[in-house]
């Protein structure tokens, strides 16, 4: 078990810097999810922790020990790959035992660990099969088993569920979480799926274009997104954004409505409103001209435009919605559930 420190971490390929001064403290036993769109550098960051990519500058420490110069095998980590990377010519048992054999563990110790891991993952009956004789979900378990038997200080997961179908993905997600809680091993998990990130992580590191946008618990990210990017990335359906003018605790909406907000300053800003925080209100300042309804059963999504403007806006209302395409419906939002961002930097404005 160990904590991990990322100190002023930079990665460049030639003159191009792809990760910019990453900072992060990961506590012992914590489950951290690195999330972001493709190309944001999340896999690179994970591979740097693993030792598969070199560190340009800065430092990675695992359990207080600087590991920048260490070979992957010397870092006491285990990694689960997106395509599982099982050795195709070895049986499940040999796959799991390979690393231990190289470390010259005694035979009965290797056997004990493999059996134990197989027991936990319920793959005992497949131990003598080759990877190609297994289904996707079973391969996934073998890949996890290979990580478990090493009894490492850190688990690294590189989008391990993206090759599974939707149903299996939900199931494996829960199993990974349970397993991690049971073993208590510090874990870093990379994904581009925000739902996976929210449900798995103790804390989330949101990466965008090589910068850390925000590092916090799922609830912090949802309640107080640090930037327009995080606000738009976390939560489904996505947050609505409107350009507004702030003065004396009110935001002037495009088209003229006045919405009370919790704001200390005045001037132009970007207003963020989550669809689920819009309440239907006959006297509400937000007039939405309905374009389309999406019935989800428990709730209904109303897609439309702010009346008299081109700004599209989505609201989520409980229950079944009545037919009303083309009609105008009015909404309001509680001031404490509104978000304000700087129009230029996109950063959250202090209240």
């Amino acid at each position: 078990m160990a904590d991990i420190q990322l100190k002023d971490l930079v990665k460049s390929y030639g003159p191009t810097e792809v990760l910019h001064h990453i900072e992060g403290d990961i506590r012992d036993g914590e489950f951290i999810v690195i999330v972001g769109p493709s190309g944001c550098g999340k896999s690179t960051l994970l591979r740097m922790v693993a030792g598969l990519e070199s560190v340009t500058s800065g430092e990675i420490a695992i359990g207080g020990r600087r590991v920048n110069e260490l070979e992957p095998s010397a870092r006491d980590i285990a990694m689960v790959f997106q395509n599982y990377a099982l050795y195709p010519h070895m049986s499940v048992r040999q796959n799991m035992a390979y690393g231990l054999k190289i470390r010259k563990l005694p035979k009965d110790e290797i056997n004990r660990r493999v059996e134990e891991a197989a027991e936990i993952l319920e793959i005992k009956q497949y131990l003598d099969r080759k990877p190609r004789q297994l289904s996707g979900g079973q391969r996934q378990r073998v890949a996890m088993g290979r990580a478990i038997v090493r009894d490492p200080q850190v688990f690294l997961f590189d989008e391990p569920l993206s090759n599974l179908d939707a149903k299996l993905r939900v199931q494996m997600r829960l199993e990974i979480r349970k397993l991690q809680q049971r073993l208590g091993v510090t874990s870093i998990y990379v994904t581009h799926d925000q739902v996976e990130a929210m449900t798995l992580g103790d804390r989330l590191m949101v990466l965008n274009g090589g910068y850390v946008e925000q590092f916090g618990t799922p609830i912090e990210l949802y309640d107080r997104p640090a930037s327009v990017f995080v606000a738009g990335f976390i939560g489904s359906p996505s947050m609505n954004f409107l350009p507004v003018e702030i003065s004396t605790g009110h935001a002037t909406l495009p088209g003229g409505g006045l919405l009370p907000v919790a704001a200390a300053h005045s001037g132009a800003a970007t207003l963020g409103l989550r669809p689920e925080h819009l309440k239907e209100d006959e006297n509400g300042p937000l007039a939405i001209e309905v374009d389309m309804l999406e019935q989800l059963g428990a709730s209904t999504l109303i897609h439309g435009r702010l009346h008299g403007t081109g700004h599209s806006i989505t609201a989520s209302v409980p229950g079944h919605a009545h037919d009303g395409i083309g009609s105008i419906r009015r909404f309001s939002a509680a001031p404490e559930l509104t978000h304000l961002f700087d129009t230029v930097s996109g950063k959250r404005l202090a209240v």
Partner: protein, 283 residues
């Protein structure tokens, strides 16, 4: 077949059978020649049906003194020489090509591309275009009349290197990463992961290279002057020359048969690997 017309089906088989006969005819005649005695083989027209001297001819060819009037090694020794040469060439080519392909694909080092092109150039220099100077090099190294001289100058191989490079490039990167996390160094990765994964490619290439090695002609002709180093394929030419004085076609054709049996057997017995090897190396 799209339609089912008995006449076309019959015609198809007829053409194919005629083709098979045309292809097999020279070898049939050779086989027939190896089953008659020397006397019968000196009367025109030659027989088209086997006689019963096959075992006698075999015995005389393999263990006898060979053709009368010539001084040559016994045929069994020639077969051994051919086998040694073919095995040295094929395993040698495979070994050094595996190693260089591994280096070129899995390491980044100065002059990597330089080495790659140097290997590529060998493709453009068949032995036929550099006969004399290569002969001089081998002579200066004192390798004439040796197995080393027979095999080593032929074992550099661009095609084998390219093929293994291609095979290695299809091995997912994650296997290497996984192996590194498991603590496997380069050589361990090579022997534990890469070699087992390339098994069938190696076997397929071996089939092709064995035939290539066995059938070498010009090269052994140049560098072996000692009769005890003669290979079976080379010996045919000497026998043909001798036949102009005293024809003993039964022995010559038995020798020819013995010379073609091993590689032909390899093709037929390992047909799948042979086809794979042939199509892979010519990509």
């Amino acid at each position: 077949m799209v339609e089912n017309r008995p006449l076309t089906a019959f015609l198809t088989h007829l053409v194919l059978i005629l083709g098979v006969i045309a292809i097999a005819l020279p070898v049939w005649i050779t086989f027939v020649a190896s089953t008659h005695d020397a006397l019968r083989m000196n009367q025109a027209p030659l027989p088209l049906w086997p006689g019963d001297y096959f075992l006698v001819n075999m015995k005389q060819t393999l263990f006898g003194s060979g053709l009368s009037g010539t001084e040559s090694a016994p045929v069994w020794l020639m077969l051994l020489n051919s086998l040694a040469m073919a095995l040295m060439i094929s395993t040698g080519k495979i070994a050094i090509s595996l190693l260089s392909a591994f280096a070129i694909v899995y390491f980044k080092f100065p002059f990597r591309m330089g080495f790659f092109w140097m290997i590529f150039i060998t493709l453009m220099l068949p032995v036929e275009v550099r006969i004399l100077p290569t002969f001089e090099v081998v002579a200066n190294l004192g390798l004439l009349n040796s197995y080393w001289g027979l095999s080593i100058p032929l074992i550099a191989s661009a095609t084998a290197t390219f093929m293994f490079r291609q095979v290695f490039l299809t091995v997912p990167d994650e296997l290497l990463e996984s192996a590194r996390i498991d603590g496997a160094g380069p050589l361990r990765f090579f022997f534990d992961i890469l070699l087992p994964l390339s098994r069938t490619n190696i076997a397929a290439l071996f089939v092709i290279l064995f035939i290539f090695g066995w059938n070498q002609y010009l090269w052994p002709l140049l560098i072996t002057t000692d009769t005890s180093m003669t290979t079976i394929v080379m010996s045919i030419k000497q026998m043909l020359e001798a036949a102009e004085q005293s024809p003993q076609w039964n022995i010559i054709m038995t020798t020819a048969l013995l010379a073609m049996i091993p590689p032909v057997f390899v093709v037929i017995a390992m047909q799948k690997l042979f086809v794979q090897g042939l199509t892979e190396t010519d990509k």
